[in-house]
Symmetry: C2
Subunit: 601 residues, 2 copies
């Protein structure tokens, strides 16, 4: 079994030394989110995830969820239900929800480390409470008062969980094609009929009720994505006073057999005239759903981070323990039968790649999380708008890059184990299988790439990109001027960073020019543009981390580790941008020239 | 379930148009290996693998091998045993074995397409006959006459299978650490005692007997890898006349629960004073084992190829069928509810990456296979030596790169399916799980990298590298001179190819110079050097393929597909060498600077 120890040291470094979160929260009016409170939350989250969730990870994979065809019931793996009860008991479900609905009102970004720890400890389990956040957000922003009163409070206090019912057998990415129908009833409710698939936590045994948020079409709806509405469909009907009524006409038809996250129930849900309530405006459901999707996407990025971190922790431990061969420059531990494999430069290459992507990814995702709070609470409208543009811009990068890196890090970590990594008992292969879902759900990497380049950069005239490049440039300027604390540690990275900023701008212009005559240029450049963006964003995070560590009261070893890992990143990972830039410059023709029929000529 | 259709068109193109195998075989004295014979073998291999093996792939994964603790017996998944009987019946086991031992005597490289098809159809099943080849080679080259008579013939005709027993719980890469003991008996036999793990096909129900080739130490053996001997240890004792005797003291202790290849039995074997026969010289066992390992490594490379091919076939089919969204430049199929996703440039990026790596990898591995035949049969000693150097040089490249690309192609192919790729029923996730073993067994990618750069390039003064660069340069010269058939189609690739040849030479020199003062430079550069080599080797294959297609009688669509895929490869895949070259130039310090204890400071 793989072990898990919450990386509190680096989490605190990122939150407090790098991002100055405690001061930011004070500035944003989060008076309760003091350093003491946050420290206590982190300690307790570490304890809960390490001791309650992590031990259930392997059994959850081995046992999985089971489905009873006769009753439509889903039973979660042994221990999952009890762990959820403890989670509710501890008040975790409402950590970042508004106080008026029973939450603890902490900033969004203060919940990100909790999410990282949950996902590292037990990704499959984490999917049950996860989806409640999306439902909570949708209700907060688009629900009527009575809907909030009836549905939001039990979601916040964890008595119920939520789902997002989007996908149907014939449509995932292209929701305009969906067939689920909503017919209005005389009493203001709607009758929902259709089949939804891939519904995470669509059915389970953890709570009394489940609140489904369902996309469906009204009878007179316009065709395509402009004719989609969002409905609340509870598993058990609920009276306006909140008491539970009879079972609604929604039933789990089966659960999927998947590559991984076996402990997470992925359900087919059949709605057969189920009673639902319209949430938000008719035909504006996609907009409301996007509210849920944005934070869900950041959350999936953090899943990639959590899995990467757990994988690399175990690879590091194994690489220190496993004795095999000698260093090429001579035995490092002549008293042992062989040297630990961590003396091998190629093993270090894999470990350092993980370390650079994990710690860099942590900085990037927590930074994006902090922008969510700034977008919500900053004193000026201008600052809120800027932060909002940044969140929109960073969301596809965090989602796609951190999950791609999750696949990569679990790959390297398994590889460090050699053949033993392929054997179930070490737990490394589970991490690799679990990680594989993260580049698929909540929009594949390709969809994130189109969202970034097509929508966030091209359609929105690069508002978020300009914000982000401005931040990098101001950081570089401050380092050059020596006004950035710890700037001496970042000095060597400023030149390369400025070069990438210039190249990024130029590339964006070139794609825009090409796209003016050929719209396919957007799709053709999108993936490489996305990854390029992710690597430059991480370079910024690493340069800042080197500076922040230098300026901090961290140990000398910690500061040195940040500096050397930053050097490794700039020397060996950032050059991946060369490949992506070359691919982008080759333009769409290299992808579109081959006739579709000739692919297997 | 994923489908499989043997890619006979491209297999024939590579064998006959690109490599001129029929003419080569005639030149090497393989009079029986005519085009007609080879065509018949390919057709029949396609039929067998498509209709017998491929349908068992999914059930093999789902059922897996089962182990009976009471008897130590392993039962293979339903249908596996019967398929093996058909395989033996068809004479496939001895396809490339010498006629004098009952084989059909075809050239080694004529067996590579069969292996590709087997691995694509059913990798787990393919591991049962696979290991017999290693045992066959070891017996052919190092066995005594009676050993060949008694053990070789049943291996060739498939009545028995073979194993390679190297790994022990505490040692895999570093065989010098092994503990299994061989004590000489008065009758010339040896008593073998110890535990071996990860023994593929170590126990099963397909044949009457299993011939284990076991590494062990004699009582007076020198320490380390110079004190290892190789022994034949049959599951059932065998009299000199070949009749089976009583069970030997070797027993399967358990089978591993693995990420994939569930249908392949990965055994713990306990030798408890089992009767064995020394093969080859005492303490020279590692050398004999390397004979087995080299062809096994080429074989594992072909496993990566087979899985990649099957994965991409299915991704192509799905991308043509799945209707979702519209092309950014406007609907391509306005009569359908949405366009097939193959119109999306980013989907084409994934498909073309697979196509380029699959077809390029096929050319590279078949080319390496042909060198095995040339090394064995060429008319002059000089040519045989040159080919032998090439085989040694190309083996780690084929093994490591084709398996890394196997992981990559199964990744892209699954990604084309979106969330459906993660569901077992589509079969794509099995291909990804199965592929994951190939970068681990028979030496991890890191071990191949050290073999290439440390041994094949540095220790052997680059004999194989010089051969290979000479081949590329001669091809470029012939294209420039217009004497290469089809050279006009390759013209645009010659400049980039020459540049890479020059950079490859220069990089090799630089690493050598740095390694003179710091041996860690070898390990630090090895992985990136390996991948760099693979990408340039593939560029050579693609330039040759474009030319060979142009000069062939293939259809215009086929020739166009080769040319456009070559263009795609040079524009979007070959630039990966930029990243690898940058990593190499950053030298060892970027990997060794961080103190081991500070990795998690």
């Amino acid at each position: 079994m793989s072990l898990y120890k919450a990386p509190l040291g680096d989490i605190r470094f990122v939150l407090f030394d790098l991002l100055g979160a405690a001061e930011e929260y004070a500035r944003l009016g989060h008076a309760d989110a003091t350093r003491d409170v946050l420290d206590a939350v982190l300690d307790e989250a570490a304890r809960f995830t390490e001791t309650v969730l992590a031990p259930l990870n392997e059994t959850g994979d081995r046992i999985g969820c089971t489905f009873d065809k006769a009753t439509g019931a889903v039973t979660t793996p042994s221990g999952f239900r009890e762990a959820y009860a403890q989670f509710v008991e501890g008040g975790w479900t409402g950590l970042v929800s508004p106080v008026e609905f029973g939450g603890q009102g902490l900033p969004y970004s203060a919940g990100v480390p909790l999410k990282e720890m949950i996902d590292a400890a037990n990704l499959a389990w984490g999917n049950f409470p996860l989806l409640s956040h999306g439902a909570t957000d949708a209700l907060l922003h688009h629900g009527e008062d009575w809907q909030r009163e009836v549905f939001l409070k039990p979601l916040v206090d964890g008595r119920w969980t939520g789902t997002m019912c989007l996908t149907e057998p014939h449509c995932g990415t292209d929701l305009g094609l969906l067939k689920t129908k909503a017919v209005p009833n005389d009493d203001g409710t709607y009758s929902i009929t259709g089949t939804k698939i891939f519904i995470t936590a669509g059915e389970h045994d953890m709570t009394d009720n489940i609140v489904h948020l369902v996309l469906a079409k009204l009878p007179d709806a316009p065709a395509g994505s402009k004719g989609i509405s969002l409905f609340i469909v509870p598993k058990f009907k609920v009276a306006r006073d909140g008491t539970l009524g009879e079972a609604n006409a929604v039933r789990c038809g089966s659960i999927e057999h998947k590559m991984g996250i076996h402990g997470s129930a992925t359900c087919v849900l059949n709605f057969d005239g189920a009673q639902g309530y319209l949430i938000g405006q008719p035909n504006k459901g996609l907009m409301a759903m996007f509210t849920m999707m944005n934070t869900a996407r950041l959350g999936v990025g953090v899943q990639g981070l959590g899995l990467s971190d757990r994988a690399w922790q175990n690879a590091l431990r194994y690489s220190r323990e496993r004795l095999q061969s000698r260093a090429l420059s001579g035995a490092k531990f002549p008293d042992k039968p062989a040297d630990p494999i961590i003396v091998q430069p190629d093993v270090r290459r894999m470990l350092l790649t993980c370390k650079a992507l994990v710690e860099g990814g942590r900085a990037l995702s927590y930074f994006a999380g902090l922008q969510v709070d700034i977008a919500e609470r900053a004193p000026t409208e201008e600052e809120r708008q800027q932060a909002d543009a940044l969140v929109g811009f960073l969301t596809p990068i965090v989602k796609a890059c951190l999950t791609e890196w999750g696949v990569e890090c679990t790959y390297h970590a398994l590889q460090c184990f050699g053949g033993h990594g392929y054997i179930a008992e070490h737990g490394m292969e589970q991490l690799a299988r679990d990680a594989r879902i993260t580049t698929l759900y909540e929009g594949t990497t390709g969809i994130q790439a189109l969202d970034l380049l097509g929508r966030k950069v091209m359609q929105l005239q690069g508002a978020g990109l300009k914000q982000f490049l401005g931040l990098i440039t101001r950081f570089c300027d401050a380092c050059t001027a020596g006004t950035q604390p710890g700037s001496e540690a970042a000095a060597e990275f400023i030149g390369p960073l400025r070069e990438k900023v210039a190249q990024w701008q130029q590339m964006t212009l070139q794609i825009g020019q090409r796209a003016a005559t050929n719209p396919e240029e957007i799709g053709a450049a999108s993936y490489d543009y996305l990854m390029y963006s992710g690597y430059v964003a991480l370079a910024y995070c690493w340069a800042r981390s080197a500076a922040a560590a230098q300026a901090s009261t961290q140990t000398e070893a910690f500061r040195q580790a940040k500096l050397e890992t930053a050097r490794f990143y700039f020397a060996r990972i950032l050059p991946r941008t060369l490949t992506h830039a070359a691919a982008i410059s080759s333009a769409a023709v290299t992808l579109t020239a081959l006739d579709e029929a000739a692919f297997d000529a």
